[in-house]
Structures are given as structure tokens and as C-alpha cells.
């Protein structure tokens, strides 16, 4: 698993509209058909995005504004007059801000240590930081429960009268869950800063700290802001960690679930959803417009990046910290398989494979098989739709492509709980009656996770010089042939990366699908939550271990099949 990902970079530098100058060639009938075809495809994609992104959001908005007699703001009045709900909003913001601050700070140190210094063990840190990317987002919480829950190892060893459930639990879990996103983004930014600039500063008499502060960090500032905003959205919308380890500390994402699934109060759930979208959308727009235009790219023919020797006073603390974080992530993920083979965590430490019999539920291990089906379908369909969308946006440039691009990226700012609620509201009635079928799950994964996939596709296409296509056309290949024989083969690596991305998300996602699973069709990730809630952490660990094995195994298998580093792990 390498960290190659163009997707994150384009959050910093949104694709600029450079019109590709195409030689005006005589159009054959085949090319005419091709043009009509691409126009039709553009329309189809726009319709898909309207149906699966815009319509659910509009349904949520409409539900929050619907009263017995037409439009009303009564639900919002109720929200803001409830002391409890306002407190939940404040709690959500508080958790998100604190988690974001810690995550970005730790990620910055890690990224700096790995990209700009010569400390040992850098590969280990990089590798460990990828683990949370490919696992259900709440396995970290589960590990913390095994460590510090009421039956936790540390709790028992030290006879603590304290439990991790609550604010602290959510924050530490979120930090380790979202660290990779921030780390990879910052490593990317720091890795592209030319060392010559630092050397120039030092030659001009600046000390190491001044250089760090005035040169390196200054150049990284937009990247830092971007990382902070993205992590903020992730923490604000996080559902799995708060529901597992939040105890009695509620946040908006979990409260929406309680309102809708517990009390079937759709209006209240929709109102909270809109309240939750606002800060996320603001963060997203600030990132896209303000930060996006301010990336200080150090222009040179390939930035010179070499690890520079550090003064020991800095080197060793950096080594201890980054090594410590890497080691801790390793421990967290070792705990999950360990927990699955201990007979009764906190009581009977003998080893056993009993949990793998899944006797605590008649579903057995079926939810995992369902997850695999969902992941494979989302992977296949999502890859095709995302690549076609990327091609339409980047190469055919039909009128309305801005709309397509904007709608493709919008789900970044949409919390999974809102997608889940929106999909129930939108697809529970004809004409698009999808509830109770696997398709509602597939579409939710595909379109919620669409932005990263489309950006990866666009970036890949950008790297294919249009001149190559033009050359093919000049040699008489024709547009269709050029697409099939030149563009597609160049895209296979990206296609497999996108497939892996959708596949992983199909396996591990929980916040949207928890609204959409239907009788007889549970998913592995949701089953883990249920097993923890029902007091079977060992079974939850067994399910988590199998999911981890499937995800990591399928990435390795795919890489073996299509060749080494052509399959990358994409991230937000």
C-alpha cells in the first residue's frame, strides 16, 4: 500500500479550466455518433447526480420544513428552544474542534518527521498510519474499550475507577481514526517543499527554528488549513466512534439516528441533519475557495526533497513521538484479533475460537458476506460511473460540466447520517422505490464516496497529455478507437485504485448504511456495533478481524493480479 493519491492534492489546487486545444478535424459519421453519445452520457450523469445527491438532500430539507399546514420553521424553533438539543450541538462542535486540533498537530509532527528528517523507522510509521484508512472507522473505539473500558486490561490492572466512555473516549478514538487523512495530506504538502528554500534561509543566517517557522511552515500553511478543515468535517460527521464510546455523551450524528430509528421522528432527525450540514458545508466551501486559491506551490522542475540531518535535540524527540504513535496504532490493531480469541475479555483470559462460531446471533457471519456483496457491487458500479464522470468533466467538456463537477464533489460535505436519512426519505416511495433492496445500499456508498473517486479520475486524466490522444487521432485512429485503445489502458491503474476505494468503503462504512439495511440484510460493520452494544465484544472483534482480513487481503490480491504499485489507497 503506498500513499500515492492525487485526490487529496486537488483539494488544495482545484482543477483549473485549461481548455484543451483540439485540432479541428473533419468529423466522420462515427465521430458524430461519438459526440452525441458523450452528450447523452453527460446528461445521464447529471440526472444520476440529481437523483442520488440532490434529491435526498432536498427531501431532508423539505422534511425539516414541512408542517401540518405547509411550510414552517417550527421544527427549527423547537430545536433551538430545547436546552438539550442546543447542548448536543455545542458538544458536537466541541468534540470536532478538540479532535481536529490534536489530530492536525500530531499529523504535522509525523509528516515533518517522515518527510524532512532522517530519523529511523519512517517506513513503519507510514505503513501504520495507513491501517485506519482501510478499517471500519470505529475499530479504534473498540480497541480503547478493550484497553480502558470497564473490563479493560488497563482498567483492571490498575484498578481504575474511571472509564473511557464519553468526551475523552470520542476524542482519543477520533484522533487515531483520522490521523492518516491529515498525515498523508501534510506529508504530501511538506514533501513538495523544495529543500533549497530552507538551505537558502539558513545561508542567509536564519536558525533552524526560524527556518522551520518562517519558511517550512509558512509554505505548508494552506495545506495545514486544508487538513484541519477536512478533519473537522470528518470528526463532526463521525458516527461510529461516538456511538460506541460516547457513553452518555451525545453528538448530533448519533442523535439523528436515535430520533429517526428509535423514535421514528423524521422531522426532528431532518432538522438536526440540516443543522449538522451547515458547519460542514461552511468548512468545505472555505476549503474549496479560500484555501484552494492560496496554495504556495514552489515552482521548479521537480522540487528537490532530501531528508536533512536534524540536531539531536530535535531528532530524538521526533523519533520517540513518531515511533510511539506508529507503535500505538500497531497495538490498537493487534488488540482486535487478540480480543477475538480471548474467551471472555476481562474475565477468562484463556484462548478459544468460540467467538468465530457467531452463536450470539442467528445471523451468524452472514452480515460479512452481505458486506462483501455490497462492496463488490459498489466497487464495480462506482468505478465505472466515477471514471465516466471524470472523463466527461475533464475531456469532453459539455455545457453544464461545472454543475456535474460541483455535484460530484458536494457529498464531501454531507454527513453519512444525512445521506442515510435522505435516502430513506427519497427512495421509500415510487418512482425510485429502492428501500428493502441492495441497490439503496449500493447507490448510497457510490454517491456518498463519489468525490474522491471522481477527483482521482480527473487527476489521472490530467496527467495523460491530450497530445497523446491528438497523436492517435492524427495517425487516423478516430475518437472512439483513441478512447478505447489509448485513454482506457492508461487509466487501468486509476480504475483499480478507485475500485479498491469503493470496495473498502462498502466493507467498512456504517453511518449511512445503518439507516438503509433492511430486514434480513445486515452488514458486517453494523453487526460489530450491535455486538458491542449487546455485550459481546469478543464477537465484535471476530467480525472486525474478518473484515480487516478481507479488506487487506483483497488489496494485496488485486495488487498481485494487476501489478504492484498501480493500485493505490485513495483517501479523502
Amino acid at each position: 500500500m503506498d500513499e500515492a493519491s492525487g485526490a487529496s492534492r486537488s483539494f488544495l489546487t482545484p482543477p483549473s479550466a485549461v481548455p484543451a486545444s483540439r485540432p479541428s478535424l473533419q468529423r466522420s459519421p462515427l465521430q458524430q455518433t461519438w459526440l452525441q453519445l458523450t452528450a447523452a452520457v453527460a446528461v445521464a450523469i447529471l440526472l444520476l447526480l440529481l437523483a442520488f445527491v440532490v434529491w435526498p438532500v432536498l427531501r431532508v430539507l423539505a422534511t425539516s420544513l414541512a408542517g401540518p399546514e405547509g411550510l414552517t420553521l417550527a421544527h427549527y424553533a423547537e430545536f433551538f428552544s430545547s436546552w438539550r438539543l442546543v447542548r448536543i450541538l455545542v458538544q458536537s462542535l466541541l468534540v470536532a474542534v478538540v479532535s481536529t486540533g490534536i489530530t492536525v498537530a500530531v499529523a504535522l509532527v509525523l509528516a515533518y518527521a517522515v518527510t524532512r528528517t532522517d530519523i529511523p523507522g519512517k517506513r513503519f510509521v507510514s505503513l501504520m498510519s495507513l491501517l485506519p484508512l482501510v478499517s471500519p472507522p470505529f475499530l479504534v473505539s473498540l480497541a480503547f474499550i478493550l484497553l480502558l473500558g470497564r473490563n479493560g486490561v488497563i482498567t483492571q490492572a490498575l484498578h481504575l475507577d474511571w472509564s473511557i466512555y464519553g468526551f475523552t473516549g470520542i476524542v482519543v478514538s477520533q484522533v487515531f481514526t483520522f490521523l492518516p487523512q491529515a498525515y498523508l495530506l501534510l506529508a504530501n504538502v511538506l514533501g513538495n517543499i523544495d529543500v533549497s528554500l530552507e538551505e537558502a534561509a539558513e545561508n542567509l543566517g536564519a536558525g533552524p527554528l526560524t527556518t522551520l517557522r518562517r519558511v517550512t511552515l509558512s509554505l505548508a500553511r494552506p495545506g495545514l488549513a486544508s487538513a484541519a478543515l477536512i478533519v473537522f468535517i470528518l470528526c463532526m460527521t463521525d458516527f461510529g466512534n461516538p456511538i460506541l464510546i460516547g457513553g452518555r455523551y451525545n453528538v448530533l450524528a448519533t442523535e439523528i439516528y436515535a430520533q429517526v430509528i428509535g423514535m421514528s421522528n423524521f422531522a426532528a432527525g431532518a432538522t438536526m441533519s440540516v443543522v449538522l450540514i451547515v458547519p460542514c458545508l461552511v468548512a468545505y466551501l472555505v476549503n474549496a475557495s479560500w484555501v484552494g486559491t492560496r496554495s504556495y506551490v514552489t515552482v521548479s522542475a521537480g522540487a528537490r526533497v532530501v531528508a536533512r540531518p536534524m540536531p539531536p535535540a530535535l531528532r530524538w524527540p521526533l523519533f520517540v513521538l513518531s515511533g510511539g504513535v506508529g507503535l500505538f496504532i500497531a497495538v490498537i490493531y493487534a488488540l482486535i484479533p487478540l480480543g477475538s480469541v480471548v474467551r471472555h475479555w476481562g474475565g477468562d483470559w484463556s484462548l478459544s475460537l468460540d467467538h468465530y462460531a457467531f452463536a450470539s446471533s442467528a445471523e451468524g457471519a452472514w452480515p460479512i458476506w452481505n458486506s462483501v456483496r455490497l462492496a463488490a457491487l459498489a466497487g464495480t458500479i462506482g468505478t465505472v460511473v466515477a471514471l465516466v464522470t471524470a472523463y466527461v468533466v475533464e475531456r469532453t467538456r459539455p455545457p453544464g460540466r461545472r454543475a456535474i463537477e460541483a455535484l460530484s464533489l458536494l457529498p464531501v460535505a454531507l454527513p453519512g447520517t444525512v445521506i442515510g436519512l435522505g435516502y430513506i426519505l427519497a427512495f421509500n416511495v415510487p418512482p425510485l422505490l429502492l428501500t428493502g433492496t441492495i441497490w439503496i445500499l449500493v447507490t448510497s456508498v457510490v454517491f456518498w464516496k463519489f468525490p474522491v473517486a471522481v477527483l482521482a479520475g480527473i487527476n489521472a486524466l490530467k496527467q495523460i497529455d491530450p497530445a497523446i490522444e491528438e497523436a492517435a487521432i492524427s495517425l487516423g485512429a478516430g475518437t472512439v478507437r483513441t478512447f478505447a485503445r489509448v485513454v482506457l489502458p492508461l487509466l487501468t491503474g486509476t480504475a483499480f485504485s478507485i475500485f479498491v476505494y469503493f470496495f473498502i468503503n462498502g466493507m467498512v462504512t456504517v453511518s449511512a448504511v445503518i439507516f438503509l439495511i433492511y430486514p434480513g440484510f445486515n452488514l458486517g460493520s453494523v453487526a460489530i456495533l450491535n455486538q458491542v452494544e449487546n455485550g459481546y465484544p469478543g464477537v465484535a472483534c471476530a467480525l472486525g478481524t474478518i473484515i480487516l482480513a478481507i479488506v487487506i487481503g483483497s488489496i494485496l490480491l488485486l495488487r498481485a493480479l494487476v501489478g504492484g504499485d498501480r493500485v493505490a489507497v485513495l483517501k479523502l
Partner: protein, 336 residues
């Protein structure tokens, strides 16, 4: 490319066999139930034995009471379920008020006393339940705590941080308890009781079954749980005691109903007939002991109706407006 093609073909195998729902005439029976998985297995085996042809077409979907009923409501425009089986009667009263159920008097249901039936036969009760304290002996010994014997005992500060109960907005058991305490103490005193009790709670779980299981596994010394579930855990060897509070036992009964707009109504009625039959009742009794509604089926064990029960008005408790008010107030006060 050929390798990728092979991969795509392999993936096509994952595609579901029946991608779109197809409606055919009564070749199915979909049952939503809140019975626990373990007892459900016994009941279902009896059903399969009694009506093999119907069982072959039938599928059950199990879930917690709240989510199951929320699903029925969400699917109102396009009902997926034909029958609701074994759900707390107060939830069914609420569902009836929302127009989600159709009336049906099952054959032999005249054998069930009137107090266990909806006056218009929108639901009919089959199994009885009580709420008790699940107390983990091992944990209590470690903490050197005496077991509580009454709701009043539970308020003692010595139990601070040692009690787990469930959340009335998601758990039927917890709402039953809330309504029962309101019936026992009056609403004002009930809120005072909950306020004091809150100081002793270490956790409030989503599912009503969780506190009992947590007490069985030692995650908490005391859980407030359905008595028969704790009895089952005890039989399976958990170091756990069932203690019935001396100052009032909360109780309720589970009922069956026909879903309005059911796609397989004939199958549904046949199942509802079976679900109140003597044979079904005997299967229920295998898990519930005396906790069944038909007096003409002989069972052993202590008759629940002879215990010190709290006198709860089930129709009032099931009224959506009343329930909404109590639950909202509870959330406002105790959910952070």
C-alpha cells in the same frame, strides 16, 4: 486487459440473484418480530412442525422493538411486513392509532382473556413479561455490596456508578418502566425518582436486553432487565441472580397484529391463527414458563398475575401523545 476482464466477470457473480423486488401472489409471508433470537428458534421450530407449507414461504425479521416499529411506520406507503409477532402491546396501540394495523380476531383468540386483547382486535396478546434486577453475584462480592430488594433500595448512594438501564427512546423495556413508575408513584414523584436514580447509573444503553447481558458478563454489577432473559442467562451458568422488587413489579405482554396493506393477507391470517394456538402457547411456555396469556394451556411455575404487579393502564401507556411526552421529558432531563 484480459486479466481485468476476468476480474470483472468474477465480480459479476456477486450480483444479487433477484435485483428488483417482484410482487407475486401470496407466495411469501414476512414476519417482523421482537422475540429474542434464542427463544425465537424454539417458536419457529414449532411453527415449521405445525404448518410446514406456510413455514416454507415464511421469513422472519428480528429486531429491537423501537427500530422494528419505526421500520413498519417508515414503510407505511409500501408495507414490507405482513405480520407483527411478539411486540410490546403499547407499541402496537401506538401503531394502531397511526393507522398501521388492520383488525383481525384470530381463531381460538376467544380463549385469551379480554385484558390481553385490543378492544377492536387490532392486536392480541400472547406472552407475558416482568422487569427485575439482574445482579452479578461475583461483582457484588468484589464490591462488598448487598443486593437491592426494592426500587427504593436502588436509590442508595452505595450503588453509585453500579447500575445500568436502557433508554426509553429506543428500548421498549425502558419505556415500560417509565410508564410503570408513573403509574406507581404519580408523574411528579416518578421524575423525582428518576432524578435520584440517575446519580447511580453508569450507563444508559440503546437496547433493552443490554443491561441484563452486561450484568451477566460482569460489565456492571446491577442491570435492570427482563426477568426471563436473566433466568435464561442464569441457566446457562452466568453468576447472576434475578431479584423481583418488593415495591412493585413492572410487567407487560407481547402481542401480534396484522399489518395494514399486507401483501400476503391470507398467509398472514393463517399465521396469526397459529400464533395463538395451544401448540404455539406450549412453545412459548418452554421459555416463558407461566408467562402466556391462554389460561387453558397448563403450565408450571409461579403465575405472573399472582405477583406484586404495578397496575399499569396499557391503553394510556400506548397512547402516542402520552408516550411522546414522557419520552421527550426523559430525554430533556437525562440524555446528555
Amino acid at each position: 486487459m484480459r486479466r481485468s476482464l476476468r476480474l470483472v466477470l468474477a465480480l459479476a457473480l456477486f450480483a444479487p440473484a433477484t435485483p428488483w423486488p417482484v410482487g407475486a401472489a401470496e407466495d411469501k409471508l414476512v414476519i417482523y418480530t421482537a422475540y429474542e433470537e434464542n427463544e425465537l428458534k424454539t417458536f419457529w421450530e414449532q411453527f415449521t412442525k405445525d404448518l410446514p407449507d406456510l413455514a416454507a414461504k415464511a421469513a422472519y425479521i428480528r429486531g429491537s422493538t423501537g427500530p422494528t416499529m419505526a421500520r413498519v411506520e417508515a414503510e407505511k406507503a409500501n408495507p414490507q411486513a405482513d405480520v407483527i409477532w411478539g411486540v410490546f402491546n403499547d407499541y402496537l396501540t401506538g401503531a394502531a392509532a397511526k393507522g398501521l394495523l388492520d383488525a383481525y380476531a384470530a381463531k381460538e383468540s376467544q380463549a385469551i382473556p379480554a385484558r390481553f386483547k385490543h378492544p377492536e382486535n387490532l392486536w392480541q396478546g400472547v406472552t407475558l413479561l416482568t422487569v427485575a434486577f439482574a445482579v452479578n453475584q461475583k461483582k457484588m462480592a468484589e464490591l462488598r455490596l448487598p443486593p437491592p430488594h426494592s426500587w427504593a433500595d436502588l436509590l442508595d448512594p452505595k450503588y453509585k456508578g453500579h447500575v445500568v438501564m436502557s433508554n426509553p427512546s429506543t428500548s421498549g423495556t425502558a419505556y415500560l418502566l417509565l410508564a410503570s413508575h408513573a403509574a406507581r408513584l404519580g408523574e411528579d414523584k416518578m421524575w423525582q425518582y428518576y432524578e435520584t436514580l440517575d446519580r447511580n447509573l453508569s450507563q444508559v444503553t440503546k437496547s433493552g436486553g443490554a443491561p441484563g447481558r452486561m450484568a451477566a458478563s460482569g460489565e456492571t454489577p446491577i442491570g435492570i432487565a427482563l426477568a426471563y432473559e436473566v433466568e435464561v442467562a442464569k441457566k446457562q451458568g452466568a453468576p447472576i441472580d434475578v431479584i423481583y422488587p418488593t415495591d412493585g413489579i413492572a410487567w407487560t405482554f407481547e402481542s401480534n397484529a396484522l399489518v395494514r396493506g399486507a401483501k400476503n393477507p391470507a398467509n398472514a391470517r393463517r399465521f396469526l391463527d397459529w400464533a395463538v394456538s395451544k401448540s404455539a402457547m406450549t412453545a412459548y411456555a418452554a421459555w416463558r414458563g407461566a408467562g402466556i396469556t391462554r389460561p387453558d394451556v397448563p403450565v408450571g411455575g409461579q403465575k405472573i398475575l399472582d405477583m406484586g404487579l404495578i397496575n399499569l393502564d396499557f391503553v394510556k401507556a400506548g397512547d402516542p401523545a402520552y408516550k411522546d411526552r414522557l419520552v421527550k421529558r426523559w430525554l430533556e432531563k437525562f440524555s446528555r
